[in-house]
């Protein structure tokens, strides 16, 4: 675990096989009961039930994706922890994220109204290392239910994404497993594009961790630490 944290968003290159590994922190946000947890459960654990007890003590769900023969991606999907859901997330939640899924319930109009707010909030709290906004995909969930009339014309959501800086959107259903993989793939490819062209993020070299490991050898002045 310590290892993963230290390499957050970074690339570890294996010279022999030319293969690359990435770790991406992805935020899953949106209004109450839009299906954030269900989406993650479906994507990571291939499960759906209509109610679960909250899992206590977890920051994120981890999904390992073999993107192509030479690229392995570890996706950390950060749900809104238990109850930060009143919109009061800590900066710890946003820190170092490289992508986001913003969910709303396509069977109702209500939760869509908050999407813009979530996107604005996201963009003020986290950016890519180069300062650009992190890629975000709009998730129109619960498409197994009858869609609200606002969303019957797909060009409406196309325009909305264009105007609000989303990289794209999907009608999804966590219940019937519709477009879950597609949504994740779209986000991964966007994040990969950004990370690859910005090159390796060097912040981690500059960062000490304090989880009991003492880096006594690492005495260069600019080094940072995780305790």
């Amino acid at each position: 675990m310590a290892n993963q944290r230290n390499n957050l968003n970074s690339v570890s290159q294996n010279c022999e096989s030319e293969s690359k590994e990435y770790l991406f922190k992805i935020l899953v946000i949106g209004d109450l009961a839009t299906g954030k947890t269900s989406f993650i459960r479906r994507y990571v654990h291939h499960l759906f039930n209509s109610h679960y007890r909250a899992t206590i003590g977890v920051d994120f769900a981890l999904k390992v994706v073999q993107w192509d023969p030479s690229t392995l991606i570890r996706l950390q999907l950060w749900d809104i922890a238990g109850q930060e859901r009143f919109g009061s997330m800590t900066r710890v939640y946003y820190k170092d994220a490289v992508g986001a899924l913003i969910c709303f319930d396509a069977s109702k109009s209500q939760s869509f109204e908050a999407v813009k707010k979530w996107k604005e909030d996201l963009d003020t709290k986290v950016t890519m290392p180069d300062g650009s906004p992190i890629p975000a995909v709009l998730v129109a969930n619960k498409c197994d239910l009858p869609k609200h009339e606002n969303f019957s014309d797909p060009s409406f959501l196309d325009d909305f994404c264009q105007n609000n800086g989303f990289v794209g959107w999907y009608f999804t259903s966590a219940k019937d497993n519709i477009n879950i993989e597609e949504t994740a793939s779209l986000l991964i490819s966007e994040v990969l594009g950004k990370v690859r062209c910005s090159g390796k993020q060097d912040m981690d070299n500059d960062c000490l961790s304090i989880d009991g490991v003492s880096y006594i050898d690492n005495k260069k002045a600019h080094c940072a630490c995780r305790i």
């Binding site: 675990m1 990571v44 499960l47 909250a54 109850q83 800590t90 900066r91 960062c207 000490l208 630490c225």
Partner: protein, 572 residues
């Protein structure tokens, strides 16, 4: 849609300052149901890190609160004072003003409150203001307004393209305000790398949310001068140091060896060569320490007064030496993004263990029977709770017993250079005296300011009662105030803010309710020992038989309900 809270919690906590956050997290961690509210729209209360615009707002709000009076500035700041007042004026409809405007009306109609025999409803007003004498001043030259407008678009574009330009282009108030990467602390701290906070973060595994940068150097202001010297912290430093003579180097080496020995043999401190109760300065003199060495050891390493008993001073030295060499040259760490990350890291863990968070919210009233609070009222909801923890500023004045308050003087300086030639240093500096002043320099390298910017903090127990009077002499030693005079080698001061922060030990500040616990405001300390001690003591009173912040499992140690991974433990 306004989501509601649940009807019952074990613990309700008001204020997301560090002490309250530790208590909340410790309770949530061992399975208690916690509701954590804060009337502010940001985490951390006084323990927060602000962006520059947030800080500027905060300062101006406090100036207004105090009647908006500006002490006369000296002539050189005339221009800036004007600027300050004009901002002040168009600030009338500032949205964040609303934050402090809590209504004292109870949102639920009294007939709807469920009262059993003997219960009464009491309104809950926000408490005392701990901040006073706030004086923000901008020293930046503002361009002529027309020129500014014309340049604005191109200026912003250029910013992204070439960061190097920042150094030549003068900083303006607007430019600082549009930058986003800020983490300016109201209550800055450093962590001893083997101190109480680091130990707690490691043992609780909350360290997974934080990262740190080591403080590179300890500076000392040579007596009678404005000159800052690097205090040698390692063997190499001592060898290379140009201030100390060969003999001094040898004395210092031998002394550090002794301190290291103390770590292994704590028994040596007791009965310390007959000096244990004697002033430390006497001991140093007896060992042939020159005035320079005395100055360095007393002020920069032990950080004690000359009259401190030797035994106590040696304990301080032990603390310093045992934290040295763990990560960097000095014993100190500073969090990336600012100290405000620390309370938030606790809150995140609290939430991950089921704690409910809501900012911009506080309680409107309590339902109590005799001296026990049975439930609280939040908006239109009545919520049962077993215990209530509040930070001092969230407790109604009427519940407090009179206490002697300590006043801390604080200052924040934003400059475009380091106090001593460096591109990105983190530094600690202590000015001795009857009221010693601590100075912490942090820089953009800790991701608390845009590239090239330094934020320097100073604080001390107030001796004049006014932060500016206490700290201005130090500011004059460190910074270049006048814009024309850049030849003295000091960094250019861009913005500063002086303020006083009151503190008081709150362990028995109210006797009204037996299940109300009040946490103290930040005290004058460098690390977090006092805050942790207080949080632990409240926790131990609430839950005497429970472990305080046991290690939180990492992701790969937790099983998700319904999956088949078996190396993991189900916590439900």
């Amino acid at each position: 849609m306004e989501p509601g809270f649940e009807d019952e919690y074990d613990l309700v906590v008001i204020g997301t300052g560090l002490t309250e956050s530790i208590v909340a997290t410790a309770c949530s961690r061992i399975g208690k149901k916690v509701l954590h509210l804060d009337p502010n729209d940001y985490y951390g209360d006084l323990w927060t890190s602000f962006t520059f615009p947030q800080l500027d707002d905060w300062a101006r709000r406090h100036v207004q609160l105090a009647g908006g009076k500006n002490l006369p500035d000296n002539g050189s700041q005339h221009q800036q004072q004007q600027q300050f007042q004009s901002q002040h004026n168009h600030d009338q409809n500032n949205p964040s003003e609303k934050v402090n405007n809590q209504t004292s009306n109870i949102g639920i109609s009294l007939s709807k409150v469920n009262l059993t025999a003997g219960e009464m409803v009491y309104p809950w007003e926000s408490g005392i203001n701990l901040i006073s004498n706030v004086e923000p001043v901008s020293y930046m030259i503002n361009e002529a307004p027309e020129k500014q407008d014309l340049d604005k678009a191109t200026e912003e574009e250029e910013e992204d393209v070439e960061e190097a330009d920042d150094e030549t282009e003068p900083w303006t108030f607007e430019k600082l305000s549009t930058e986003r990467n800020w983490g300016i602390d109201l209550v800055p701290r450093l962590l001893y790398s083997r101190g109480a906070m680091v130990n707690l973060l490691v043992s609780s595994n909350i360290c997974r949310y934080l990262s740190f940068r080591s403080i590179e150097r300890i500076l000392s202001c040579l007596p009678g001068t404005d000159e800052l010297m690097d205090v040698p912290c390692t063997r190499q430093d001592i060898f290379n140091d140009s201030y100390t003579s060969l003999i001094e180097k040898r004395v210092l080496m031998r002394f550090i060896q002794l301190c290291l020995e103390l770590e292994r043999r704590p028994d040596l401190i007791e009965g310390f060569e007959g000096f244990e109760e004697q002033p430390f300065i006497e001991y140093l003199r007896s060992k042939g320490f020159t005035p320079l060495l005395q100055h360095l050891v007393l002020n920069s390493i032990a950080m004690v007064d000359p009259t401190t008993p030797t035994q106590e001073a040696m304990e301080q030295l032990k603390r310093f030496v045992s934290s040295s060499g763990r990560f960097g040259n000095t014993p100190f760490l500073f969090p990336f993004y600012g100290c405000g990350e620390i309370p938030q890291a606790f809150c995140r863990l609290c939430a991950v263990f089921g704690g409910t968070y809501c900012l911009k919210r506080t309680i409107d009233g309590v339902v109590a029977k005799d001296d026990v609070i049975n439930s609280i009222i939040v908006g239109s909801q009545q919520i049962k709770c077993q215990n209530l923890v509040c930070s001092l500023s969230n407790v109604p004045k009427s519940l407090l017993v009179p206490r002697q308050v300590t006043n801390i003087s604080r200052a924040i300086f934003i400059s475009s250079g380091s106090v001593k030639d460096s591109q990105c240093a983190g530094s600690l500096l202590r000015f001795p005296g009857p009221f010693p002043i601590l100075v912490v320099e942090s820089s953009w390298a800790s991701l608390i300011a845009p590239k090239g910017i330094f934020v320097i903090y100073a604080w001390c127990d107030s001796f004049t009662g006014n932060a500016k009077e206490d700290l201005l002499p130090i500011a004059r030693k460190l910074f270049n105030f006048e814009s024309g005079d850049e030849m003295n080698g000091k960094p250019k001061l861009l913005w500063s803010c002086f303020y006083n922060q009151a503190t008081v030990d709150c362990s028995s500040i109210t006797d009204k309710y037996q299940n109300l616990y009040v946490t103290s405001p930040p005290v004058n300390e460098l690390d977090y020992d006092v805050a942790i001690e207080e949080a632990k003591s409240i926790f131990d009173t609430l839950l005497p038989d429970e472990e305080f912040l046991p290690r939180a499992p990492d992701h790969d140690e937790i099983v998700i309900e319904g999956t088949q991974t078996n190396q993991e433990i189900d916590l439900d």
